[in-house]
Each structure stands twice: as C-alpha cells, then as structure tokens.
C-alpha cells in the first residue's frame, strides 16, 4: 500500500509546507466571532469570498439558500481531500488514505440508513461527502443499488468489506446501524494501527496521532455514557489501542466520583492540552460542551505533534482535521442563523 521513498526528504518538506500554508489560510477565530453577529446573506457572502467560491458558482444553478451553502461546503471538503491525496508523496499517501477511510464508513452508513428509511436517491447524494477511497462515481453506484445486501456486495474490494458483510444481517434485522457503526470504527482503527505499525518510516508519528484520536473518542464515550450503561454495553463501545485499555475505561465509567475519573485520566494521559480541559470537567455537566472541549484539546495536541514531527503525516492530518471543523463550523453557523438561534447557542456548537 505504502510507496517506497526513493526521492529523499524534499517531497515531504514540499507537501508539509503546502499543508502549513493552507492551514494559515483557514478562517481565523476572530472571523467566526464576527460572523456570529451577522445575518445569513452576509455569512453566505463571506463563504463565497473565501475558498468556496468555485463550488458556490458551480452549484448555484441547481441549489439555493442554505442548501447551496451546505452542499458547496461538502463538495469543497471532498475536493480538497482528494487534491491532498494527489499531492502527498510516498508513504504519507498511504497513511493519508488509511486515515480517510473514516469517510467511507460515514458515506456507506449514510446510504444504508437513507435506503432503509426510503429517502430519495437525490437527497442521499446531496449529503454524502466523497472524501475517502470511494469517489463520487463509486458512491453514485452504491446509491443506485436496490437493496442493502447489494450495496454491501458492491463493496467487495473494500478493506472493511468483512465487517460490512458480517454486521449487515444483524443491522437489517434490528433496524439500527449503531452496532455496525461501532464495529466498523473498531475495524477502522485496527486497520490504521496496522498501517502505522507496518514498518514504514514515519509510522511512529502516525501511531501517536491514532492513539490521541482513540483516547479522545474513548473519553467522549466515557463522559457521554458514564453511569448509564452496563459493563458489557460499554465494553462494546470502547476502542482498543489507546492509552487506556478497554477494561480500564469500563472500570472508570463505573466509578461514582467524577473527581476520581478526572484525576486518573489526567495522570495517565499526561498531555498538557488535556490537563487544563479536564479541570473544567469537574464543574461542567453538559456532555456537548465536554465533547467540544475534548475536540479542541485533541486539535491542540495534534498541533504540538505537527510541530514536533514537522515533515511527517502529522501536519497533513492537522490540516485535514482543521478543514473538516471549518466546514462543520460554517455549516453550524449557516444552519443556526437560518433557524434563528442565538449567537451564543451557535458558538457553543463550533470548534474554534
């Protein structure tokens, strides 16, 4: 999967510098604060004036209003990710592709859920984001399939096909894809850990990112379900491969005292970005705010990794994640303004 490096470090320096320049062009925090006090037409105008102009112009004849903004943002994200896969060299391409497999999971589940609820094909097409290994044409072919079984059959060449095949019957029977989603993400993390540990140079930096990502996801799950689920259910939701073992997380979730949980996490994680955030959780009760705070801590820690491993996969992953959050922030802003939400409520949903 990963190409052999025969060209020296120059292409890596080139690609990572491009990512750093692109990162510098993302919308800054002050701009978001300004946009929070604007009306929807003003926000749309700003979105048009930034990197999203081409997509807005391209889609203006087919969509309008909030749908135009939302679809243009998704298209831009997909195009950007595909361009990045093209420009990253050597084994970084392999790592980036592995990382982007998460979009395949999201897209296939969107299609399966849409099909099971008889959503029209056009609507499903609008909300899929071809940012992973399944491009627009592959997703269109999946959307055109008649049944869930045929969709899974069409994924035979995909690296996660065994999981799709194994979980499909249970998901159709129960009418819920939640268990399948958990299993897919577990398989996804197993797959990217395998790619990182494959002996390819640079795998160490990628592995550090994966551990950070797994820790963040597990902590989000822990704070979301703490005290409300049985051990077996919890065990099924946790992802192995992070700083904490699954058993440790289950034990923590069963703990009565929040202080004890926070203290244990702080001591074991020992990451500056999380230490400060964890302190605020002693008072914070809103799961949503905790999730946003954990995401910010993760991005902050990833930024540190990108500075430590300057010419590795980390600067690329940092840009990919920041771009994803830029798109979701703009979507939250546009949707929030359309629904006449207060700026404070919209701001609470954004990662800035």
């Amino acid at each position: 999967m990963a190409a052999v490096n025969t060209t020296g470090p120059a292409p890596y320096i080139y690609a990572c510098t491009r990512m750093k320049v692109r990162k510098a062009t993302l919308i800054p925090r002050e701009e978001y604060m300004r946009m929070l006090n604007m009306e929807l037409p003003g926000i749309t105008r700003i979105i048009e004036e930034t990197h999203y102009k081409a997509e807005i112009d391209e889609l203006a004849s087919s969509f309008s209003g909030i749908d135009l903004v939302e679809i243009a943002l998704s298209w831009n994200l997909a195009k950007e990710y595909q361009k990045i896969i093209e420009l990253v060299p050597g084994h970084l391409k392999g790592f980036t592709r592995s990382y982007l497999l998460r979009w395949d999971i999201q897209n296939v589940l969107t299609i399966l859920r849409g099909k099971s609820q008889d959503i029209p094909q056009g609507r499903i097409r609008e909300i899929t984001i071809p940012a992973g290994s399944l491009d627009k044409n592959a997703l269109d072919r999946l959307i055109a399939e008649d049944s869930a079984d045929r969709i899974v059959e069409a994924l035979k060449a995909h690296v996660l096909y065994p999981v799709f095949e194994r979980e499909m019957a249970g998901a159709v029977e129960s009418g819920s894809f939640a268990h399948m989603e958990n299993e897919l993400f577990k398989a996804y993390y197993t797959e990217i850990v395998r790619a990182a540990k494959g002996g390819v140079k640079g795998g160490h930096a990628f592995l550090q990112y994966i551990r950070l990502d797994i820790d963040t996801r597990n902590l989000m799950t822990l704070f979301r379900v703490k005290g409300s689920l049985e051990s077996d259910e919890l065990r099924e939701m946790m992802i192995a491969g992070g700083t904490f073992s699954v058993e440790e997380l289950v034990r923590l979730a069963g703990s009565e005292s929040s202080d004890e949980i926070i203290e244990t996490i702080r001591n074991r994680l020992n990451l500056d970005s999380f230490t400060e955030v964890l302190e605020t959780f002693r008072e914070e009760k809103s799961v949503h705010k905790i999730e946003i705070a954990l995401t910010k801590a993760k991005l902050d820690q990833l930024d540190k990794l990108a500075k430590r491993y300057q010419f590795s996969v980390c600067p690329i992953l940092l840009y990919l994640e920041l771009k994803q959050y830029e798109v979701s922030n703009l979507r939250a802003l546009a949707r929030g303004k359309e629904s006449k939400l207060e700026p404070e409520s919209i701001g609470a949903c954004m990662v800035v």
Binding site: G8, P9, A10, P11, Y12, I13, Y14, A15, C16, T17, R18, V21, R22, T25
Partner: protein
Amino acid sequence: MAVETMTIEVAEASAVGFKAIGAGLAVGLAGMGTGLAQLGIGGAAVGATAENKEMFGLALLFTVIPETVVIFGLVVALLLLFT
C-alpha cells in the same frame, strides 16, 4: 646530486598537486553542503510558492542564502591556488 634535484622537483610538484586537491575539496564539499541545505529550503520554497504566488521573492531569497557557503569554499580554493 641528480637524485637530490629530482627529490626537490617531486616535492614541488606534489605541493602543487596537494593544493589543487585541497582547492577541489574546498569547492566540492562546500557545494555538497550548500546542496544539502538547499534540499530542504528549496522543497519548502516551492511548496510555499505553489500555495501562494506572492511568496516567490521571499522563497527565492531563502533558497539562495546557502549559496554563501559555496562562495566561501570558492574563496578558499582561489586562495590556495593563487597565493
């Protein structure tokens, strides 16, 4: 007598030869050092310029800074050969 004259001639010829080798090494090694430095700077410069055309002037300036190293090597080589 003839052997002594020949030894002096050989020594003088060797001195000129070693100077030439030293000059060659001075320029060659300095050139390699410059090349190594420009490998990274050049990669970053092209990357930055590809994203933002306005960076071209600054990127070019940073790329030529290691050229000073090869100029030092050249000066050492010239001093060796002509003094």
